[in-house]
Amino acid sequence: MADRKSAVRKDDAPGRRRAKALRQRRRPTGILSTLTDLVGAFQPMAVRRLQEEIEDRVDGIPIALNDYGFDRYGFHPETFRKGSLPSALLYRYYFRVENHDIDRVPDGRVLLICNHAGQLPFDGMMLSMSMLLEADPPRVARAMAEYWVSELPFISEMAARMGSMVGTPENCIKMLEAGECVMVFPEGVRGMNKLYSDRYQLQRFGLGFLRLALSTNTPIVPVALVGSEEQNPGLANLESLGRLVGAPAAPITPTFPLLGPLGLLPMPVKYRFYFGEPLHFEGDPSDEDAVIQKHVDVVRKSITDMFARGLAEREGVFR
């Protein structure tokens, strides 16, 4: 594994240097630069420090870039370092994320399997920040975006630059074979819109991720996130109404739809990530569901156990 990393680092050195040169060449001049300087001057010290930290971490990501600073899938560290600041601020000051045993995430290809909750996918955003800010070396956690995301102007472009991929199984296999870190939320929308009464109860898992792990011989790291399941408690889910308007769900929460779209925003709960021991599975990726299900149950059990630990350890939902 160490070989792979050093090889990559050596290879892309000219790429990084060139990208840096381009960055300097395109630095804004005149009024624009004065304005950016002014905004910079009024930034609180903490924000500036966080920005610097992000830059350091992004530079440390072991990844091969071409002459223009992109990887082959459209990931652009330059955009990533700018785009990460809002999520990093949320990470530090809103959710005050805590990580346990993040060093269990191995180098090279790995699948992070995490629970999903809270109406909006802040869990994915925060998990990717954990991997950027706390993992050693820092990693890009690749999200699997729904394929229709690539039909949306701007959003598709931004998603690619920030390192997410068009979420088809083929692409996931390619990413894993290239040694990337991919995060998957096998509960999907069933988890995201689960009811408050179902908190910390894993919904049905899709089996796809395990087949992918088997066919690419990828270790699975189960991740339990404690906190997100209370961030925006679901009181009801009017699925048929959602289907009527073409949405995957129609959640009712204490604040949604009462406060409009703003009502979907989470409460400032404290996020706690627990990373489990890497799990290695062997077998035929095209086995019948019952066989795959047994492996999946091992992953579920690991997450459930970490839930128990996390819930016992915490002193409250918000602190």
Partner: protein
């Protein structure tokens, strides 16, 4: 010395390939237009693939191998003309090859045959279905030629056939559609989309075609260059200015521009500016040991002259 027949020899790529082949093979070239300064040793004929005279050339030269690049790729010709030359010409050529005992056939197809779709996987391999004809009637002939030749691989195994599907080709001599697109001063793009586009230098592609002849390859092969960049980076690096237009009006506008000859390609190909078509070239690299010599900066610099 083995004999090689090259169709489309007077085209930009045809000349490059013929020159390379002429070191090792006795090269005969045919094209509908004249290659004025053809080097000595390359025997050229001005014939139409669809005419009797072409069959005469095949009959008299009895080539061991044929490199087929005689296509109409630009959109100045009518649909009917493109179809007739590309599909009709290829069909006749296949018949001639079998009739006159050609042993090896190399056909230049295109990476565009996979089509540009939002769900396209990264680095598509040769097994990916050819979906271009699903949405792009403008390049249906491209797909038809490709499948015509690909089915020939197993229908007539005695004729070793290779189909080469390269990514977007750039260089000073090959007037590819993408080069004409990037050479515009104001380059129309689709607002909010910036797909990764792979490029290869024309010399590298010519080398790949030559390797296919040398190795007598059989099968379908993607040929890729040094990698891919976002469309807007390519435009910037080739000295143009991107001109982003939101999608629905863009489709209408592109159609108008094309009709008045101000745009080198029809509006239907707009999706190629929205969704990525990147290819996996490892099969070809393993079969021939091919490695491209030109990096992305050299490729972009090469079309600015």
């Amino acid at each position: 010395m083995e004999k090689v027949l090259v169709t489309g020899v007077a085209g930009g790529l045809g000349r490059l390939v013929a020159r390379r082949l002429s070191d090792r093979y006795a090269v005969t070239g045919v094209d509908t237009s004249r290659w004025k300064s053809s080097p000595r040793g390359i025997d050229t004929h001005v014939v139409d693939l669809r005419k009797r005279k072409f069959e005469d050339v095949v009959r008299t030269t009895r080539p061991d191998a044929v490199v087929h690049m005689g296509f109409v790729r630009h959109f100045r010709a009518s649909d009917r003309e493109r179809h007739s030359v590309n599909v009709g010409g290829t069909r006749l050529l296949l018949d001639h090859c079998v009739k006159y005992g050609v042993r090896h056939l190399v056909v230049l197809s295109s990476g565009y045959v996979y089509g540009a779709f939002p769900e396209n996987p990264y680095q598509m391999d040769e097994e990916t279905p050819l979906s271009a004809s699903r949405n792009y009637p403008e390049i249906r002939d491209l797909v038809e030629v490709d499948s015509l030749v690909s089915t020939n691989i197993w229908r007539r195994p005695e004729l070793r056939t290779s189909v080469i599907r390269p990514v977007s080709t750039l260089g000073p001599r090959v007037p590819s559609m993408v080069r004409e697109y990037l050479r515009q001063r104001r380059v129309p793009t689709v607002l909010g989309f910036d797909p990764m586009i792979p490029f290869i230098h024309e010399n590298d592609l010519a080398e790949a075609m030559t390797l296919a002849v040398d190795h007598q390859l059989q099968g379908v092969f993607n040929v890729v260059g040094p990698g891919e960049v976002p469309l807007h980076t390519a435009i910037e690096e080739t000295g143009g200015t991107a001109w982003p237009i939101p999608d629905p009006p863009a489709r209408w506008l592109f159609g108008r521009l094309f009709r008045f000859g101000m745009l080198p390609y029809p509006a239907g190909l707009l999706d190629f500016l929205k969704y990525p078509v990147s290819l996996d070239g490892s099969r070809f690299a393993e079969a021939t040991g091919f490695r491209c010599k030109y990096g992305l900066p050299e490729i972009f610099a090469s079309i600015r002259e």
